[in-house]
């Protein structure tokens, strides 16, 4: 339950990002701010400060000021407010995580149910397709698709998706994990089909559509629901990996992954730029995993025997 609370907190906070940026910090986290100066207490300080250490060359962004309203976590190499960027980035990361999780599970459930229920040819085709996608090492598949599509967009007749669109990472990540969910769903539907109440429904002349909707789906739903938080966590991790590699979210948009990427240049001087988004990812994923476990235990009658976290 704590996990749910943490999760909601993160979601709400990130949704409030624009309010923070405009009303509290009064800066634009997406515009470079190389010349800016900010007021802390009674002093003015430059956002980009001259280096006094080492060779004394170049400039270093200001470090965390720990003042809530101004550059709370410091600035990145373009002078942008890291904290505000993290809030905005959170929206993107969470959006991608949840939507691709949702799409993945929706598609996987449909495919799994069709394959399991209709069997034979339908099953063969779907299962072979799943096998092939699954046989690809996940990262390699995601990376291959990303390299091609993200840098130049998708142009398929009526479907135009621009290179910078978020839809690309969402779809790629979702499709890569479809077999992961579809296989178990298919297994469940297989064993359900043998059960008496399904046989009875078939014998009484109910249409396939009716059976799928009224009899099969309610029995598949609990397992699918259990998958959801776990898939979101997995997708968030995949998105950050892709973004760190430069083939996930593209600028001008930011996600936690891209901010980490930005922060790597400053790792030894201004570590917080890279540390903070990472910590956010960890917190959200831990919360999702704990939530996932909790949901699974709630549905499983034998969980009493197993439950710990």
């Amino acid at each position: 339950m704590i996990a749910l609370g943490v999760l909601l907190f993160m979601v709400i906070v990130t949704l409030l990002a624009p309010i923070y940026a405009h009303d509290i910090a009064h800066d634009n986290p997406f515009a470079s701010n190389l010349q800016g100066r900010i007021k802390i207490g009674n002093h003015y300080r430059s956002v980009m400060q001259s280096n006094t250490q080492g060779l004394g060359l170049g400039v270093t962004p200001i470090g965390p000021t720990w003042h809530f309203s101004k550059y709370f976590l410091g600035a990145d190499e373009l002078g942008r407010d890291v904290f505000a960027r993290i809030l905005y980035g959170g929206r993107v990361t969470l959006l991608i995580g949840f939507s691709s999780g949702l799409i993945c599970i929706a598609v996987a459930t449909v495919l799994g149910m069709l394959a399991g229920y209709f069997g034979r040819a339908t099953d063969w085709i779907i299962s072979r397709a799943l096998d092939i996608v699954w046989a690809f090492p996940i990262y390699l598949l995601a990376i291959s698709l990303s390299v091609i599509l993200v840098t130049s967009g998708l142009d398929l007749g009526i479907i135009h998706i621009g290179a910078g669109s978020l839809l690309l990472p969402i779809l790629i990540i979702a499709s890569v994990y479809v077999p992961y969910v579809a296989r178990p769903v298919r297994g469940i539907v297989f064993s359900l089909k043998e059960r008496d109440f399904i046989q009875a429904a078939i014998a009484s002349g109910a249409s396939d559509w009716h059976i799928l909707r009224k009899e099969i789906w309610p029995n598949v739903a609990p397992s699918v629901i259990v998958f959801f938080p776990l898939m979101v966590a997995l997708n968030i991790l995949t998105e950050s990996a892709l973004s760190i590699l430069g083939i996930g979210v593209q600028p001008p948009q930011a996600s936690w992954g891209t901010i980490i990427n930005d922060g790597l240049q400053l790792l030894y001087t201004r570590p917080w730029v890279a540390i903070a988004p990472g910590i956010c990812i960890v917190i959200v994923c831990v919360a999702l995993n704990i939530l996932g476990d909790g949901v699974r235990d709630a549905f499983d009658p034998r969980a009493k025997l197993r439950g710990s976290i």
Partner: protein, 323 residues
């Protein structure tokens, strides 16, 4: 049993073939993408573009293009990079393989040890404080992006504390085993720990679940009625049965890793293994290199999957009858 193996291998080959077709299609036939400029890389001259088009038969029908690519890759084995002109792909991959294997070897040892002990400890002490504690670490371990973790490790060991506590940790890079075993291990220590953390978390959680399930089985009750010690029951009966399900997980994980899935870890720590190579290919959009690495990786996953199926039949006596 032999028929089982033969069938398994046959389907493995089929999957490999399909993967190669898919890779080909992704790189050469994605609509709206120009293959020639893809192959030649971002900053190619028109002359190079023309040469590429000729060499890869880009004006010929798809199947022929596919055949040519496979020919270059597997038979003539002279697939060369178009970014680092003239560099042959296959030798690069074979040179990088031992590094990846070294990384995986150490990580495997660590994660098996930590993961299995963690799972056993948590299961043995089910309900007491240490159980959720271990499980929390397990969850945390699987929630950390590997690349970020590596960077954090570097930050700690190479950053401010480098001069004091962590002075003995080298700054990335690889020393081959034959050169100096001690340096080999030293350079790989933190990469091992970083890579192992994710898997240790997964294995601890899975094993705990399996152990607890198995401890409720009837045969455990029989074992108790036989007067065996709890310790023996846990290790010789419950654990032995739980490890079976870990085996298939393990096989697939190792397969994927050998194929280059550890790329993030390799890149962070500057280890020039197959994953690192793939990353270089991606950075430079060096498609022949990417193609080679993806095929290499897919091959190992498929192989591992087949090996695991066979091994499974060997370990679990019940499967042998069915197979």
């Amino acid at each position: 049993m032999l028929r089982f193996i033969a069938k398994r291998l046959a389907s493995a080959v089929l999957v490999m073939f399909t993967i190669s077709v898919l890779v080909f299609l992704i790189f050469f036939a994605t609509p709206g993408v120009n293959p020639a400029s893809r192959i030649a890389g971002r900053s190619a001259s028109p002359a190079v573009l023309r040469q590429v088009a000729k060499e890869f038969g880009l004006n010929r029908p798809l199947p022929i293009r596919y055949a040519l690519m496979m020919f270059h890759l597997f038979i003539k084995q002279d697939l060369t990079s178009y970014v680092n002109i003239g560099d042959k792909i296959i030798p690069q991959i074979t040179a990088a393989a031992p590094i990846t294997l070294s990384l995986i070897f150490g990580a495997v040892v660590i994660w098996l040890f930590v993961g299995i002990s963690g799972g056993v400890i948590a299961a043995k002490n089910k309900g007491k404080f240490i159980d959720p504690l271990v499980m929390f670490f397990g969850i945390a371990a699987i929630s950390i992006p590997v690349y970020w973790l590596g960077q954090m490790v570097l930050l700690v060991t190479q950053g401010g504390l480098h001069r004091s506590i962590f002075a003995w940790i080298p700054n990335g890079g690889y020393v081959s085993l034959t050169q100096s075993p001690w340096q080999w291990a030293l350079h790989l220590l933190f990469p091992w720990l970083t890579l192992a953390s994710l898997y240790a978390g997964i294995y601890a959680r899975v094993l705990r679940g399996e152990l607890i399930n198995n401890m409720n089985e009837d045969y455990i009750r029989t074992a108790r009625a036989k007067g065996l010690s709890e310790r023996r029951i846990l290790y010789r009966h419950a654990l032995r049965c739980s490890l079976i399900s870990i085996v298939s997980l393990f096989g697939l994980d190792v397969g994927v890793l050998v194929g280059g899935a550890a790329l993030l870890t390799e890149v962070v720590f500057g280890l020039q293994g197959v994953g690192w190579l793939t990353y270089q290919g991606l950075q430079n959009l060096d498609l022949p290199l990417i193609m080679g690495c993806v095929m290499y990786g897919a091959f190992f996953v498929v192989l591992a999957s087949a090996v695991v199926d066979v091994l499974y039949a060997y370990i679990d006596p019940r499967i042998r009858v069915v197979a």
